[in-house]
Symmetry: C2
Subunit: 380 residues, 2 copies
């Protein structure tokens, strides 16, 4: 198929592939639950070299999917969520690297999750789906690597929850990664993260259409609750300063206060749009599962020391990137990672970036993707 209509540095049309784990090897979750079959959706860009040594794994954030680069069709005008960083000549140069973008277990974007059909009942799992952790997501990706014949990744990169996966790779599977780039993330969700997650979940629980998670066969879905959850989260993706720059106190479609409860300010209109649009593309139960996975994430829990968690990662190179304006994952959380890695003896570089604020995980990642990482870490 021709890619003439796409920018010259685009990977062109990309297709999602699906890998279903062998039926005789059910997946054991961190909680102890087992489930099978499990399918992971993924995309790849570029070619795996003969030594199988040029693979880069891209990990997505809360609401992401496998479609990180390129276009779904010739008519598609919106490329994948990290298209700016993936392609010929781009930071993750598909002329040189084999880039894998793996959707997580628990998602609603093609991988097995609470909205998938339970083959035993013939109905969606809903809340009978096991609780998922970041560790589970990574162990599922590990099976995908086995399937693709990749013993060791050149690099794992991701922002926000994608950064948690990257850190999880380094801490628990260090022999399988050469370099790790966690962006705008933390090594453990703190009380504020958990609080924000929980309020979003409560908004979903409060929606009568949620029905205890058993809504897939109903006419109505818990869109109102999911929209509120997304609006809360969306505020956390913006800083006070960026919201001020973007919206200020500008009114929506009128010049004076209307003194009513309809939309008065542009920021209200924007948020409502974000909330509603999200319900068109995301599943409320997946939102519950993924936020829960983020809450559980705490690399230092097992060893009581973050440095100890990275004890096996001495041969892994790290580039830790944070943003000074990020208040969900402020720079001090990245500095804690850098300190722990330094104590553990790992080879670590870090970058604290001033300026453009986190507008969404995808946008951070677009901005974050540093030439530096390409030169010092991703390049062999």
């Amino acid at each position: 198929m021709s890619t003439d209509t796409f920018p010259p540095n685009s990977v062109g049309i990309t297709e999602t592939q699906y890998f279903t784990f062998a039926a005789d090897e059910p997946f054991v979750f961190e909680s102890g639950a087992t489930l099978g079959p499990i399918t992971l959706a993924y995309q790849t860009y570029g070619k795996l070299d003969a030594a199988h040594a040029n693979a880069v794994l891209i990990c997505h954030a809360l609401s992401g999917g496998a479609h990180a680069a390129g276009y779904r069709s010739l008519q598609d005008t919106k490329p994948g969520w990290w298209d700016s960083a993936i392609g010929p000549g781009k930071a993750f140069d598909t002329d040189r690297f084999f880039v894998i973008s793996s959707n997580i277990i628990g998602s609603c974007y093609g991988s097995t999750g609470p909205g998938s059909i339970n083959p035993v009942t013939g109905k969606s799992y809903g809340l009978t789906f096991p609780v998922v952790t970041i560790g589970d997501m990574v162990r599922a990706q590990e099976r995908l690597l086995d399937h693709l014949g990749i013993a060791r990744l050149l690099c794992v990169v991701g922002g926000s929850m994608g950064g948690m996966q990257a850190l999880e790779w380094a801490a628990h599977h260090p022999a399988r990664v050469r370099a790790v780039i966690p962006l705008a993330t933390t090594a453990h969700s703190n009380a504020m993260h958990i609080a924000l997650s929980e309020v979003g979940r409560q908004a979903i629980y409060a929606d009568p259409n949620w029905q205890g998670g058993d809504y897939y066969e109903n006419h109505r879905r818990p869109d109102a609750g999911l929209a509120v959850a997304r609006m809360i989260a969306h505020i956390t993706y913006l800083s006070e300063e960026s919201m001020h720059r973007k919206f200020g106190r500008r009114l929506q479609d009128h010049e004076r206060f209307g003194y009513q409860f309809q939309t008065e300010f542009q920021v209200e209109s924007y948020l409502k749009h974000q909330g509603m649009a999200f319900t068109q593309r995301f599943d409320a139960n997946s939102y519950l599962y993924i936020t829960k996975a983020i809450d559980y994430f705490d690399l230092s829990a097992a060893s009581n020391s973050l440095a100890a968690a990275f004890a096996g990662a001495k041969d892994v190179k790290f580039l830790v990137v944070s943003f000074t304006s990020d208040w969900l994952y402020p720079s001090h959380q990245s500095k804690e990672i850098v300190r722990a890695l330094t104590v553990s003896g790992a080879d670590v570089a870090s970058s604290e970036r001033v300026g453009p604020v986190k507008c969404a995980a995808a946008r951070i990642q677009r901005r974050a993707c540093p030439e530096r990482s390409r030169r010092s870490l991703v390049a062999r």
Copy 2:
């Protein structure tokens, strides 16, 4: 009635009083709407001196009421929301000052608001109640002062939305105040404030029991939506650091992860409790009206300059207090007030307090109440 059982520096048992505006003088809202009769609930502590020159007005925050000091009965164990600052020998010394605590118009704590009965229909106003502004709240308080025979206040003090009222007094009624103490507040709600308000309102709108605000005669009230709104707001009253100190990642009632959607972490339990408890004491429509008033607040709107807004306040003394850990009303917003006041030629002192974080408007105010303010501003 004996106050033997109360601490010696308590004002003892306090009673709420009600002032209803004269029937022939309906209240005109900033929106142009008129309404009557209007009642304000208020409490007073101490005695008005012969010159009527020792009155201090206390303005409450979003969810406050008139009961700022003392106890409702001998059996009452929980004093008013700013009892630590109001009483004999306390910062607002009731041996010297006549302290007035006025509930705002639009509230559900005794003043006329959306839950009040419309005498024309015999039913609650609901959303037919006019939209209220901070300016409306203050002009209603002005009528209360007229009623009490107070031409000029010694001091107006308040935190958060109470601080907005204090600033409104200074900007638009400067001849009626000698000193103003705005605590942890801003001169204009910004895009982030509006966004947070709107998400809370959306949570209420999304509750099917809300019924367009017409729920007062129904069996069910929009408690689920109001609880979510309160949980969102409550997170903004805490800082990342204070939540970490208070809760960390401690689990609730168990030692290991349960891997389920019930409460896992203490912070979740705390937030849910805060949300549910709030529904027992607050009205969802009042929440909508008061957050809307906060959104509209912008002292610089009329003059395009904050300094110009304070042009008439040259004879007013100011003490502006902020908290470095406050992210809802960060110190830079208070500094902007201080700069504008300085430019306008007002007598201004300021205090940026490190440390104890804002846990709620009431708690800030408890901490904020500075000896300094008593000496330099409140004392004649």
